[in-house]
């Protein structure tokens, strides 16, 4: 072909620079750029004067499973500079690669062969280069291509050609490459047919394809008709340097976008060498800003060192690696970690793209802005963090029905964003215990959120639709009832009954083979919360009740067995017991008799973990279902001389786990404890002491004081004297005895 073929590397400043010069020389009448040919309508937006790079074109299939391809562009992308050049010189410009629908369809056929062209081979070649040169491939590329003066195109084409030979072994890849090249060639031929002289066509493509475009035949009409294609849509979205740097792989990103922009600026200013000066001064500035001392002398030394380092490697200017190593040896005092923050700032940067108002938005974006307006939340869309306090109750003093519940709808909206992972508003913890009508948010708008909104377009056409899809995905993927319950709760907060009922179905089916007692209790109490406050959110709670009952029943049936456990697991069991107790108290329809009966069984049985038994007793006491006589009987049984001290003390610990005031008030209990302790012999006493100390450890000083009063009464001591004795610091002598306890040998227990 007679037209110009310019081989480039994606995201390469030098390519962009040389490309512009080549365009100036060639003065073409048509510029063709490698990129999906169905995305031409996005081009005007790329050239819009208000557009700030980086931006990306996202193409996605309309039908699930959603597949996407992303084309990120930075200001130094050769493709972008070609498009901009064409725009500036009023020359027509088009994308010429396979339409995105075909790409997506091909990706579906070979999932592993996804987005990137020649990805695997390129990676393999890079790995080899890395072993050969001892440097990473970005540095290799920088030294040998970015810094070559003049002959960039030849170097790049040679590289592409060699890469082609290596890639020829991979049949699948070669096949895809051939199809693409045939299509691109066809695009060129079409342009010629339209009357553009062939030598006035300028093609920008990956260096890899140059030879293919030169040699291969164009695709025929039949072949083109046979291409698989998926129905897809595309949108422009702002992109960020951070995202660009976190994606690896050829074409998808590069590690140091801010540095490459520096190099681009330096090239524009006429000398690539400037990039080194810019880098080092910016690094020093960022490092100073982070609160460190950097003298100009150190920056100068870093510059000198980097120049020698690059000469050792045979490159004319310092590469990023040289600059970084030199900075570490001088400003960083030998360790990169000192410079890490400043380096991230200088190499990656915080730059985020911007698209002008009116750029065609995805329907989700439209929906987002519509709702933002309808809910009067627009003023919260600012970079500054703001507080938003919501009162979910219906306001009776307003006129329209919409205004009465505006806060509730705001809450739904914000929760839906949260479920979609859009970082616009974060919920703050409630300030007021039990005030369920209050909700507190902190809002902050970042361009990252805009990106996240665009990404959620893959899940649906509206915020609600996308949230429903996300919740359904999560629900279908959940494997434990706790997860399903959390999803249900989210759906409830989002005000989405359909999603909630789906989560409930999943929860139900999971609960059949579930689960540990603790999980069941946790899930039940979550559901109970929803059931109790459903009115506030206008949510029909009736579907929950059968499941709640089911879970309650299951918990009751498994509780007894769960109480056969060691002291570590007992904590989880008592925790679950507490939750179940609250559950039963909150919902009348859960049979009380069953619960009480169960508690007395657990309390009575002495082959269970004594802590659990003690806790069951504590609940019975609290609910007034155990009288003084029963307690007295239990205390003397549990704390009788024959019982091993640790079992007795464990029981007491359980008993003290709840409702302490009632416990402290019962003088008879302390009398029993006193008499029990006095029956113990020296060794048993020591043992019991260890456990009792633990049981009393988390009593508050007031509570201890009350106990002291009780004991004083029993022993006939003045209460204040007893308290003084208990509250004062331990003496040295006592300390010695206590230390002795610490060495207590538990092996024989």
């Amino acid at each position: 072909m007679k037209g110009q073929l310019f081989g480039v590397r994606h995201l390469s400043p030098a390519a962009a620079h040389h490309l512009r010069q080549a365009l100036d020389r060639a003065r073409p009448e048509l510029v063709l750029v490698e990129g999906p040919s169905d995305l031409n309508e996005q081009m005007p937006w790329l050239c819009h004067p208000e557009t700030r790079f980086p931006v990306a074109i996202l193409a996605y299939t309309k039908a699930p499973p959603v597949r996407t391809i992303l084309y990120p562009f930075a200001v130094y992308s050769p493709e972008i500079q070609a498009i901009l050049w064409a725009h500036e010189h009023k020359v027509p410009c088009r994308f010429m690669d396979l339409p995105s629908g075909v790409f997506l369809a091909l990706a579906q056929v070979q999932p592993e062969e996804a987005e990137e062209e020649s990805g695997d081979t390129t990676e393999a070649v890079y790995r080899r280069l890395e072993t050969l040169t001892g440097e990473d491939h970005d540095t290799f590329w920088e030294r040998h291509f970015e810094q070559t003066a003049g002959s960039y195109q030849d170097a790049c084409n040679a590289f592409g050609q060699q890469l082609r030979l290596t890639a020829a072994d991979d049949e699948l890849q070669t096949a895809e490459t051939l199809v693409r090249e045939a299509y691109m060639k066809r695009a060129i031929c079409q342009a010629v047919a339209e009357g553009v002289p062939e030598e006035k066509i300028f093609c920008v493509c990956g260096a890899f394809h140059v030879e293919g475009l030169r040699e291969n035949a164009p695709m025929t009409d039949e072949e083109e008709a046979a291409l698989p294609c998926l129905d897809c849509a595309a949108t422009l979205m702002p992109y960020s340097y951070y995202r660009l740097s976190s994606r690896s792989g050829y074409g998808a990103g590069n590690k140091a976008p801010a540095y490459f922009e520096l190099a681009w600026e330096a090239l524009q200013s006429g000398s690539l060498e400037n990039a080194a000066y810019l880098y080092l001064t910016r690094l020093a500035k960022a490092h100073r800003k982070a609160g460190n001392l950097v003298s100009s002398a150190e920056v100068i030394e870093a510059m000198r060192l980097s120049q020698v380092l690059c000469r050792l490697r045979g490159s004319p200017y310092p590469a990023l690696q040289d600059l970084r190593d030199a900075s570490v040896a001088t400003m960083g005092h030998g360790s990169f970690s000192e410079l890490a923050v400043a380096a991230a700032d200088t190499e990656i940067g915080k730059k985020i793209g911007y698209l002008p108002e009116g750029v065609n938005r995805t329907s989700v974006q439209e929906d987002f802005y519509r709702q933002l307006k309808a809910l009067r939340l627009e003023k919260f869309r600012s970079a500054e963090a703001q507080r938003l306090d919501l009162d979910l109750r219906e306001k009776l003093n307003v006129r329209s029905a919409g205004a009465a519940l505006i806060d509730l709808h705001r809450s739904f909206f914000l929760h839906r964003l949260r479920v979609l992972g859009i970082h616009f508003a974060t919920p703050l913890p409630s300030r007021q215990e039990g005030a369920n009508w209050g909700e507190y948010w902190e809002t902050r708008w970042t361009p990252e959120a805009e990106i996240e909104i665009v990404e959620s377009a893959l899940m649906g056409d509206t915020i609600e639709g996308a949230a429903a899809f996300a919740l359904k995905e999560r629900a279908d993927g959940s494997s434990r009832i706790q997860e399903a319950a959390a999803i249900f709760h989210d759906a409830f907060l989002c005000g989405m009954p359909a999603a909630a009922s789906h989560a409930l179905t999943v929860l139900q089916s999971l609960s059949v083979d579930a689960a540990a007692l603790a999980e069941v209790a946790e899930t039940a109490s979550r559901l109970s919360l929803v059931a109790r406050y459903s009115d506030l959110r206008r949510f029909d709670h009736k579907p929950i009740l059968p499941l709640l009952h089911q879970l309650y029943l299951r918990a009751c049936l498994t509780l007894e067995d769960a109480c056969i456990c060691d002291s570590k697991a007992a904590l989880a069991v008592t925790d679950a017991m507490d939750k179940l107790n609250a559950l039963q108290l909150n919902h009348d329809f859960l049979e009380e008799d069953r619960w009480l009966e169960l508690l007395s069984t657990v309390s009575d049985r002495d082959d269970l973990n004594t802590r659990c038994s003690g806790f069951a007793m504590a609940i019975l006491l609290e609910r007034g279902k155990a009288d003084e006589a029963l307690l007295a009987r239990e205390v003397s049984r549990r704390l009788s001389p024959g019982v091993p001290a640790e079992l007795g003390a464990g029981w007491f610990e359980g008993l003290a786990g709840k409702n302490r005031y009632a416990l402290i008030a019962r003088l008879s209990l302390w009398r029993h404890l006193d008499s029990y302790l006095s029956t113990l012999d020296e060794t048993d006493f020591r043992r019991a002491l260890v456990f009792l100390r633990r049981a009393f450890a988390d009593f508050s000083p007031t509570e201890k004081n009350d106990i002291a009063e009780n004991l004083g009464e029993i022993w006939g001591v003045d209460a204040s004297q007893a308290a003084e004795l208990l509250m004062r610091d331990t003496t040295a002598e006592e300390k010695e005895i206590l230390d002795g306890l610490d060495e207590f040998d538990f092996d024989d227990i």
């Binding site: 190593d325 040896a329 001088t330 030998g334």
Partner: protein, 361 residues
């Protein structure tokens, strides 16, 4: 060259390699240097054959670090090598000086007793009293001689020196001249003069280096060997070199023995088994690569003098215990735990070593 010298300086030991590199030189050589920076790099990292002479690798770590070190000296900045004990700081500094100047002997050993005179100059007092101050009565320090000749002086363990001694270096490094008020003269440093200092990270607290001094150095931190293979390679080569000079009458340790020693050292050093699955107690000693080397040489000596001539499990066990247990109580516990929890469970290949270690304990 005497063959009975216990340890030859690097430039004599590797004279053949250096001469080959000098004769094959085709790059620009900086003033005061004998080789171009690129040839110095080849001398240090090895792996090439120059004029029929194979260049052995001297530093087997990150090649980039060596490049930074050489580049620093090209820019006439002073170089500071920092690292754990046994990370080849002095080794690298000696070979750098040997390659650049053919003379690695201008050394100041930093100790708590190092005085300012040892950095600058002192006097031959008999002559001073007899004839008064004169250039002949002056005893020049290695740094002084390096300045005069435009070569490299080495300061070992700089962080052990008192701060006034470190300060004496500051003026030399920034002014690049040394004044002798007694004779009313100033000695300017010739082109090519530089200083390579080494400092130990474990000694940080002894005499922390002042910011002013640090600022005059480019600092390169030498890491412990990055992976098992590199460390084994280092140990194998160095043991071979050492034993050749020491007449140990024992066979070289086989691959398996080296692997075991390096495994044990790495695991105890990083406080975890190689697969990362099990956490271990670390020991108070550094367990550097240099120690692993001397440990193997030590076991070779044991085997050669009192054993079968090749390293047996019991030779290794004794040496291992000596290397690992530095602080009696704590290290003994760590070592015992390591024996029982890790070594014992490694199967039959490790069994003889495990038994031998346990018998000693």
């Amino acid at each position: 060259m005497s063959t009975n010298v216990q340890r030859l300086p690097a430039e004599e030991l590797y004279q053949r390699e250096l001469e080959a590199l000098i004769s094959a030189e085709h790059d620009a050589v900086p003033t005061g240097w004998r080789l171009s920076p690129r040839s110095v790099l080849i001398y240090l990292t090895g792996g090439e054959t120059v004029k029929g002479v194979e260049i052995t690798p001297k530093y087997m770590g990150n090649r980039r670090l060596v490049e930074i070190a050489i580049a620093t000296l090209v820019t006439d900045r002073a170089l500071l090598l920092i690292g754990e004990p046994g990370t080849a700081k002095s080794w690298l500094s000696e070979h750098l000086a040997a390659a650049i100047n053919g003379d690695s002997t201008k050394v100041v050993q930093g100790t708590a007793g190092t005085t300012e005179e040892q950095i600058r100059y002192s006097w031959n007092y008999a002559m001073l009293i007899a004839k008064g101050p004169s250039p002949e009565a002056m005893v020049k320090s290695p740094v002084y001689r390096a300045m005069e000749t435009g070569t490299i002086a080495r300061v070992e363990e700089i962080s052990r020196c008192a701060s006034e001694v470190q300060d004496a270096l500051i003026s030399i490094l920034s002014e690049k001249r040394l004044s002798v008020p007694e004779l009313g003269m100033e000695v300017p440093a010739q082109k090519g003069f530089s200083v390579i200092a080494t400092a130990n990270t474990r000694d940080k607290g002894v005499n922390d280096m002042s910011a002013a001094l640090k600022r005059r150095f480019n600092i390169v931190v030498l890491p412990t060997p990055a992976d098992m293979a590199t460390e084994m390679e280092i140990v194998r080569t160095r043991v071979a070199q050492l034993s050749a000079g020491l007449d140990l009458f024992a066979a070289q340790p086989d691959e398996d023995t080296v692997e075991k020693v390096v495994t044990i050292f790495r695991e105890l050093r990083f406080g975890a088994t190689l697969d990362g699955k099990q956490k271990l107690k670390t020991t108070s000693g550094v367990l550097s690569t240099a120690e692993a080397i001397s440990l193997l040489a030590n076991s070779m000596a044991l085997a050669g003098s009192f054993g079968s001539g090749s390293i047996s499990a019991s030779d290794l066990a004794a040496a291992l215990q000596g290397a690992v247990i530095k602080d009696e109580e704590k290290d003994k516990v760590s070592w015992k735990e390591y024996l029982e929890n890790v070594m014992k469970k490694r199967g039959s290949a490790w069994l003889p070593l495990y038994r031998a270690c346990r018998e000693l304990g």
